[in-house]
Symmetry: C2
Subunit: 512 residues, 2 copies
Amino acid sequence: MIFSGLPCGGSMVKQRRERVKALEKKAGEEKAARNKEFVREITPKAENYSQWYVDVILKTKMMDYAPVKGFMAIRPAGFALWEKIQELLDRRFKETGHENAYFPMFIPQELLHKEAEHVEGFAPEVAWVTKGGDEVLTEPLVVRPTSEAIICDFYSRWIQSYRDLPLLINQWCNVVRWEKSTRPFLRTSEFLWQEGHTCHRTEEEAEEETLRMLEVYREFMETEMAIPALVGRKSEQEKFAGALRTYTVEALMTDGRALQSGTSHNLGQHFAKVFDITYLDEDDQLKYVWQTSWGVSTRLIGALIMVHGDDRGLALPPRMSTYQAVIVPILTKKDRERVLESVRELSRELGSQVRVKLDDREEYSPGWKYNEWEMRGIPLRIEVGPKDLDKNQVVVVRRDTGEKNFIPREELNSYIPGLLEQIQSDMLKRALEFREANTRSGDDYEEFKRVMEEERGLFLASWCGEEECEEKVKEDTRATIRCIPFDREIEHKNCLVCDKKAEEVVYFARAY
Amino acid sequence: MIFSGLPCGGSMVKQRRERVKALEKKAGEEKAARNKEFVREITPKAENYSQWYVDVILKTKMMDYAPVKGFMAIRPAGFALWEKIQELLDRRFKETGHENAYFPMFIPQELLHKEAEHVEGFAPEVAWVTKGGDEVLTEPLVVRPTSEAIICDFYSRWIQSYRDLPLLINQWCNVVRWEKSTRPFLRTSEFLWQEGHTCHRTEEEAEEETLRMLEVYREFMETEMAIPALVGRKSEQEKFAGALRTYTVEALMTDGRALQSGTSHNLGQHFAKVFDITYLDEDDQLKYVWQTSWGVSTRLIGALIMVHGDDRGLALPPRMSTYQAVIVPILTKKDRERVLESVRELSRELGSQVRVKLDDREEYSPGWKYNEWEMRGIPLRIEVGPKDLDKNQVVVVRRDTGEKNFIPREELNSYIPGLLEQIQSDMLKRALEFREANTRSGDDYEEFKRVMEEERGLFLASWCGEEECEEKVKEDTRATIRCIPFDREIEHKNCLVCDKKAEEVVYFARAY
């Protein structure tokens, strides 16, 4: 044992004394920091959006920066949201016939290099393992930035007959992409995600699967996260490295920037051909499979914060929140017992219908708790004090609107579940209204540039299909084509940029 | 796009032709392999236990070997067991007040090196990341072999006051330990696990937590996995690198070898002191926290296979099995429709009580399906054919005993859930009987050596407490001290090895 607690020599004694001094100094400083903590505010959204975002995340203890730049720890308050996302998405994956599996995190360099577009897309941003134990590896290993290469290697052995198809597998895991500029949840060098990887007999079946999972993402985001999701196809330039076609769900953040929230790729036979994934069909012919892959990540937590948060902190849609309602008793010396008794009963009753938290800590005041739970985004607060007991009522406060209502005690059990549903749909409605108010269209390039600079938001416009025009928009405005929507809301005319005959109608936006 | 499908030159055409030839050759070989597949048997347990274990795993498609030695992919059949373990343990962790979080996978070398025993224990078996993107790292990063070092670094910032304690956090993740000799699920270079990391105000509280989580593991293994678990303390030599005390749950495999299935460590203040994890107590004094850590891994899947499996393959306790009962219809041309109708109704009815799978695939015969589901270890098979319909009965076959019963159709709904409970407790009972029959005790060292060589199993004996005797046993028999049980089942006499006065009574065994 190293720390026996016994000083055992002159220098040890001295070291110990210095250590104690340092500790005392730390105690003083930390106390000061703690006091400061209580007065530190969240920077207003309007003042500095990026700082607001980081303040909300740090104040609500959702994450913390790691000692290695670009990495983060996801703290319980943040991870609970990821667990909710996992639970709600995993159920949908299983309902659509998928099973989970786990593939090795290390990919031999040789495998990554097999598909030319894929390696070109990912090689610059991978982490390399070059030593294992005391052995220098003859072939360096790549920490997965995505798992197509390693999974295709397995699939080439697992798939033999048409009977093995479709193969519908998903994996929840961590991935690493060496990012130069990072931002909590939105872009970190390590992140958590799910990646679905499927094989099919026909091109049609693969395309169906690709669109099915895109729809799963869209429906999940709207139903559970209350985030309206724009779906469509990516341009050639924006598609996944190695895919035939990439589809995307895009959400608009409250600073007018778009966030790519999930993608679904039809991989065609690109990987099947280089990894030799073949099956013997019923007609006794050996054929290549058709593949898809699709994923969402911890980035969705960032979307949740930005779409619904405000200057008071986080605001969670009821379906995503660990606790849907928090009960705060107002305890006075005289009425302590009867208030506690009442809120405990209330908590038990409500607990059978909604996820409820009774905050009966006595080291914090009710006011402190109101702020705390508001900041943490819990959809409903229920206050119960002696006066409320006398009037046989409780106070119910909505996090999203701040609306405060006095509800008769006996109506509460039927009132709360309905109110939570109302909050859920109101939050989606408001997000949708925001997006609609921030979606413009037109064919005037100067006006487009002004909008992207001053107002941001989405801009629907015609595009000739040439990479040159796409590049020019990026250079002039930093905006990119977010997606080519399935339903053309406007007729396409001439290209916004070059004025030639347009091929597509697309959404432009500046994006995270 | 790389594969346009168009031959575009002489050499391309030649390459294409060769490719097609290779494919045709592959088709022929694979067909042959497939036919062979159907006759390949599982090696009998008694003939070659190791081969039996690997055969069961490969035949049931639980895992596959990765291109990098020592790594594996966990296929859906195996991963479903891990999901079950996660679900059932995670519930218990939350019930005991723990929250989940996620910490970075890469640990700066400097952090790992802080605690001397810890680095000595883990440094020889870590994987090193030395390059990120195109940048050679100035300080190499370690891929976590366990997360004490990185977590303590965060905790030193997260904990300030006694109000922050206890801090009860768990993480589900992958870890890497560069192993020289590996075995599926039991010892692989990458594996999945959970690691709990908690901080407390007092030594007593930390010890309580350590033992509480040990008991969670024991109870989980017995209740859910039907594996009797021996609990106790590890010897100094066998304890976790950096811990004050390590406790363990040990299970006996059917080849007489023990498997360390989970450990719970009281870390004392070792890490707190080097990572400076202090809190300001109510008395205004700055104090070091007391810590614990505890974990189980995908190794548990190996235990499940070895404890319950037999020459026909896997045998799963009902609580661990994705499907608890499989319904196999016997379809004849004449009665096809009415049998299908009946099994569908049956499946719906039973489905509300147990996890049931209706296997109505028509490309496989009933006999083929019986073997398949038996091999995959599904606890119950329900057969329904035209004759059964006529007699208003179904055939129910237990996987664990092979027992076959004809059950009146109308009794089935009440019969099945009870039978599943019976199977669950019978499986635990048999495993317990096996362990008891394979636990010996005594004080004759020659007899002990013979048992460890010829019969293996557990051997309860007195030990003087000296590392020298522990080492001698290891050299002579390859057995180790598995644990020092809490309840001494025999009085300690003189040391099994040196015959001096004994300090402890311990379980010896050869272990995985």
